[in-house]
Amino acid sequence: MNCERLSDRMPGVLAGRDHWSREDEEHLVVCADCRSEWQLLVRGSALGAELPGLDVSRISAEVQRRLALAKRADRNRRRGWLGLGLAAAAALVLVIARPRSTGEAPASPIAEQALVLPVIELDSLSAAELQAVLETMEPPMGTNSTLDAPSLQDLDDHQLERVLRSLEG
């Protein structure tokens, strides 16, 4: 008889899944080691058998009450995180969408449309008034004379006379 094999089967016999054969029982009678191990397991299995009954319904109700509270707290925590995430996303969108104060003109279609909107207030001005307004404005980039093209102030008297003559035809 192998004591190790008997030891391995002891929990199964205790739990009712297995049973001792005649040979096992005979071994338990003669083998003090196996017998004392078996006695220990039987004692261990009986520990607490005389405990007064625990109140299952009270335990169950209290466990479910605490679980419900914990679930509610989890939901609130998730909502809090969701709100925080949405606020962060909104802030990010605002930062990205905001036009820069310097640099190139806004590239969005709405900004481009705004640039070509007619300025109705100018319609009522006379030609002289319009000219005065134009003179206060800088010419747009690229429509001005090139940097190396001379202006009228750069011409001498002879050259000015030739320009005037060409304008008069």
């Binding site: 929990p11 220990l40 397991l41 335990i59 169950s60």
Partner: protein
């Protein structure tokens, strides 16, 4: 007539699945099924009688909160045992090592045979004292073998160790208990 061949709705796994899908009655069924065993395990592990109900409640609460971690390789009961054992360890630390074994609050012996009851209580006390004096894993493996009838494979899964190590812990426990108790 077809016969339903689906999983048994009364198994621990089926009840746990029902609880996960929102059936609170399934949780109540699991509590009813395992409360006594967990109470006995805690008592055998050295918990005081007056603490057992609170500890059982806490063990179930923790189990349901972490139900997704139950892999079903170990039985639900042995998994509960491991949770209860950790709980007891935490409680022991919280009390800064003061023993939780309370032998003074046991019931008075039955007057019909006071000598036999006294002897039985003394034997039980010696067993509990012996178990309380074991290293934690030795105690847990021994109790899973004796109270659950668990095999080493299942114990190993529940306690996060190997079957070989569980076997070694068991044999050490038996050796020490023989010296202390038998």
């Amino acid at each position: 007539m077809g016969v339903s061949t689906g999983p048994d709705p009364s198994t621990d796994a089926a009840l746990a699945a029902r609880y996960r899908s929102g059936d609170e009655g399934a949780a109540a069924a699991l509590v009813a099924r395992h409360t006594a065993a967990i109470g006995r395990f805690l008592y055998a592990s050295g918990a005081g009688r007056s603490d057992i109900e609170d500890l059982v409640q806490e063990a179930f609460y923790r189990a349901f909160r972490k139900l997704e971690f139950w892999r079903e390789h170990a039985s639900f009961r042995s998994w509960l045992f491991s949770i209860a054992a950790n709980l007891l360890k935490d409680e022991y630390r919280r009390r800064k090592g003061r023993t939780m074994l309370s032998l003074e609050d046991r019931d008075l012996p039955d007057q019909s045979d006071p000598h036999a009851e006294l002897a039985a209580n003394e034997a039980e006390d010696r067993m509990r004292e012996g178990l309380a004096g074991l290293p934690r894993l030795q105690r847990e493996v021994f109790l899973m073998r004796s109270q659950l009838g668990s095999e080493y494979d299942e114990i190993a899964v529940a306690l996060g160790t190997t079957p070989g190590a569980a076997r070694v812990h068991y044999h050490h426990a038996v050796k020490r208990l023989k010296e202390l108790v038998v």
